[in-house]
Every structure is written in C-alpha cells, then in structure tokens.
Assembly symmetry: C2
Homo-oligomer: 348 residues x 2
Amino acid sequence: MIPVKGYAAQSPETDLAPWDFQRREVGPHDVQFDILYCGVCHSDLHQIKNDWFPGIFPMVPGHEIVGRVVKVGDHVKNFKVGDLAGTGCLVDSCMHCENCAQDLEQYCLEGNTQTYNGMERDGSSPTYGGYSTSIVVKEHFVLKISDKLDLAATAPLLCAGITTWSPLKHWGVGKGHKLAVLGLGGLGHMGVKFGVALGAEVTVLSTSPKKEEDAKKLGAHHFVVTTDAEQVKAAHGTFDFILDTVSAPHDFNMYLGLLRTNGVMMCVGVPPEPAQVAAFSLLGGRKSLAGSGIGGIKETQEMLDFCAENGIVSDIEMINIQDITPAYERMVKGDVRYRFVIDIASLK
Amino acid sequence: MIPVKGYAAQSPETDLAPWDFQRREVGPHDVQFDILYCGVCHSDLHQIKNDWFPGIFPMVPGHEIVGRVVKVGDHVKNFKVGDLAGTGCLVDSCMHCENCAQDLEQYCLEGNTQTYNGMERDGSSPTYGGYSTSIVVKEHFVLKISDKLDLAATAPLLCAGITTWSPLKHWGVGKGHKLAVLGLGGLGHMGVKFGVALGAEVTVLSTSPKKEEDAKKLGAHHFVVTTDAEQVKAAHGTFDFILDTVSAPHDFNMYLGLLRTNGVMMCVGVPPEPAQVAAFSLLGGRKSLAGSGIGGIKETQEMLDFCAENGIVSDIEMINIQDITPAYERMVKGDVRYRFVIDIASLK
C-alpha cells in the first residue's frame, strides 16, 4: 500500500483536518500521480455535510485533480513517469454497459465510481479524493493535461469545466445561438468562456449588478440583472439556450420565459428544493428543461484539448490546504473569483 | 352577418345552454362550413370554468370541428362548396413572425387566435367555437378532411390528435424506440395509436389496471400499473420517451426515473399545480422534461393525411348537444372511451 497525506472530514459535524491514509498499490492498468493542485468544488462541501445523501467517512474530498505521474502499471499505454495527468469526478465505471460503451461513463448503468465518497467496484473500498498528496487511478479515467496551460488553473476544468462543456456540446450550442448563462460562479464563469469560444452570443443572467464588469471581462456580450423587471421583460423570449448553473432555489418559470420557441434550459446545478415548473411554461413554445451531469472521459479529454488550443483555463484563487474552512465559508457566500484551488505543496 | 345557433356558457357559474349569435360575412380569404360534428375536449370545461385564465363570455366552446363547406371567398384556392373541412384550436395568427413563417402558428409570437375564448386579430371581436351550426374561418386555418374516414371520429384529431402527433414527430419517435404513454384518455389513446403507427414499442402507464385490455386493443404492446411498485421498478430506466397526457397532479420524478439516458418526457397535459422536479431526476441520465402545445396547420394536415392513409381515427361516443353537461361530468371522471363527439344535427 502507498502512504498518502490528506485532509479529511471525519464526520459531517467536523471541519476538515489532516488525515493520513493509504492508496492501493499501482496495478497493471493503473497510473499513480502526485497531486500538485486540486480545485475546490461546492459539491465538496455538500458531500461533507451530507446535504445530498449519507456520505462515507472519513471523507477526503476533491475531484479537480492535476499532478505529475510517478508510476505506471505494466499495461499502461498512454502515460509515462513525468507526464502531467488529471482526474475529475470519476475513477471507474462498469466499462461494459451501453452507456459506458458510448463513452458516457458518467451515466454508467451500474453506477459510476466517484473519485471520493464512493466505493471501488469491489463495493467495499472507499474512494478518497484530491485533497491529498498522491492518487492511483485506472488509466482509462486519467486525463492528459497540456503543459501549455497554467497547471493550477487547469484543475477546475476537470469538474467545473466538463460540467458546463458537456451540455453545450450535447445540445450543439454555437454560432448563431443566443446563450444565457445563469449564475456567475465556478461553473458559470466556465460556461461563459466556453459559450464565447464556441461562437455563441453570450448573456450573463445574475442577481448581482456588481458582476457585470467581470462578466464582460470573461467575454460575455450582454448582462441582465434578474432582479430588474424591465431588463427581464426585455429579455423575454430571446435565448435559444440557458445554461443554469445555480444551486440555490430560483424561479424556473421566469427563466423559461426568457427562452425562444424550442429553447432548452440546461440545468447543471443542484438546488436543494425541487424546481416548480408550470405546465404552460413548457407548452407555450415547446421548451425543455434538461439536466446534464459532468461528462464522459472522452469528452473530458476533448474539452481539455480544446482548452489547450484556445488558451482557456479557470479563473482561480490559490489557497493552502490549511485555509480550506475559511475558503468554504467564502465559497458559500459566492465570494470567490471563480474557483479556489489548493496548492497541494502546502500539504506535504 | 350570418346567424348561427350555438350552445354557450354565459358565465363560469352557468351550464351551457342554447345561444344564438352571428358569424362574420365570408371574406375573400374565408371558408364557411356547416358544422356536422364537434369533439368535446377537457379544455372546453377548463375554459368555461376559468380554470386557467379569465374567459370571454358568452363562451361557445369547441375546437375539434368538422363539417361541409357551404361558401368560399373569391380568393379561396383549396376549398369549394361541398368539400369536407375541419378546424382545430386555431383560426388565425399574425402570419408573419418567425414562428408563423416556419409553420408554427401555434407558437405565433404575437399570440395565435384561439378558435373560441379568443379575440380576432382586431383585438375586439370574440371568437366562438364549434358547439354551433356553422363557422367562418380564414382558409389558411381550414384543414382538408378525407372522406375515407368516419367523419365524427375524425373530429377529435383536430385537437387530441395533433396535440399527441406533434411531439411524437418533433422528437422523432419511431422504430427502435420504446415509448410510454402516460394516461389513457382522449389524448393518451391517440398517443398509443400514433406511437404504434410510427413503429415505436408502446407501453401504456396507467393507475387503473382495468384499462389494460383497452390499451392492448388500441395497439399498445405493454401495460404498466403505476400504483404497483414492482411493475414500476421493472420499468425503471427503460423508455426513450414518455408522452405525458395527464392533467391531474402526478409524480414527475417517478416517471423521469422510467426514462433511459437522454430520455425525454413530453408533456401535453396541464396539471393544476406546477410539476415538482428534483435536480437529480434530470441530471442523472441527461433527461429532459419538455412541453408541446397542439400543432401548426401544416403538420395538422400531415397528421390528417397520415390518418387517412393509415385508417386512424379517435374512439368516440356520440352525444346530442343537449347532453353536454352530463357528458362533462362523465369526462371529469374519466368515464369516456375516449372522446365525446357532439352530433351537431341535434342543434339544428
């Protein structure tokens, strides 16, 4: 076994604290990489706090992981020691169901294996995430990371990036489309960058007028303050797509009203309460409320390659792991532009 | 003006009763046809009762209208006296917005003109529906009706038919797809017939085990009693599409769970309360909850032509107009197989 230093929650009631644990030995199809940076996702906090479902403790969060390969198994083909590597939300899946066969491991019909707060395929070995010094991952789930990009700012692409990229690609958002991005946080700011890079006309929808300047800097063409009735009225029926990144309660009917005929509201956030959707909000204009969860490994690699070609990374604030609890507090308040990334050197 | 006999609600508190009124003279682009049969749609009752929005009274309901042409305007090209003709939910639209230009008059951006409980484009002349002896309609909104089909049973195609046909065609339901039809009423029974005719494998989802025999007679391949937890569990993740025709409150999350990855739940019903949709119901499998409202004139004609070619009509119970109030009472209880149609001869 491989000794690793990490930060873990021992229970939903405790803050994260240092915790040493062990990774499995590197198997023939495994890649081990030392973690250099790990992004901080809002879902890390949700899972530590059992907001969605009972978690597996101790829990080492983190699924926006980048680092450098230190060991590869005998059958590993695409990585060698010294390569940059990354891992996102998934470290395994059944590999044989019809979804896995179509590169949709995120929708594995037998259940994918989450990078942390999950169980390996044996059903009994907990997975531990990227708030740690090293990780061992099956090669299929390890991503190639370009050395052209700032490495720390690349980490959030593994979740915030792919989660916004996947729906934009699946629904074919691009040139000639008007795309609204709802919420300008870790996910939303990536949605803006991708939407612009894919050729869409991008509008940021936000309750906070203060974010307009940032939205424009990120490349957004327009900005609508959603608490301003006049601005909302003017935007009525104008968008082909809304990328909804908001995980707080919000008025789905109002936003559906901003869509054109045949418009699609693509939801990637997880509000605590069910969306309340009036029938006429969908019927009047043949609209869709759709969900999308992270992305498959193939499209994650495509997204990373696109980012390398187009110079796209996340806007980040670097922290030491010892500052994770105040960082969570700031994240909850939306006080981060736009993703905290942990410098794992602080853990060593 | 043209004197017409009708049945009208004078207010939301009164039953329908005889009411004489006048239609406009036949203009150069108008077709007048004497009404022979008019289907009874649940929305007739909703509108009389102001369930959705304040109505325009007196109200003459009815938007599943078939009859025989008695007069045509000078510029009418496609109809002549003696032809069969039909009109559905729409009698006008702006004719120039981008939706009208794409044969989507039902989604006219300036608002379509409903066949009854609406206003003509002048904004001040109320429209009156098919519970009447004759109607004058702009040619563009008059449908060709085949003489190959039972005429009375054709009437419900103008609303129940097109409302279920349109989403099936829009989302490309056909061979190789598993389609569930939720609710076996006026709309649902047409959804089954169309789904089968389009080549899909059709399952009826119903709370009522008694409907299984009927579902099979209509052509459904399978039947799931949705109050039976075992049957629901077995159906989990199996459907490509659900055609949701239910206008009563129901558990959207349960039904979304029956969809496969990328599945679409196409809603054509209008439940009184908003749908409650949990984020994970959509995210887990990239599912969509979509709405669809009636259909455009071009696709209504295509549907009618398809029905003529394939011998598809509605299953109906004929009534005299004097029996409309007890018919409504039976309709509310779901006690009709599957559409009441008024023999307008009873009004003359």
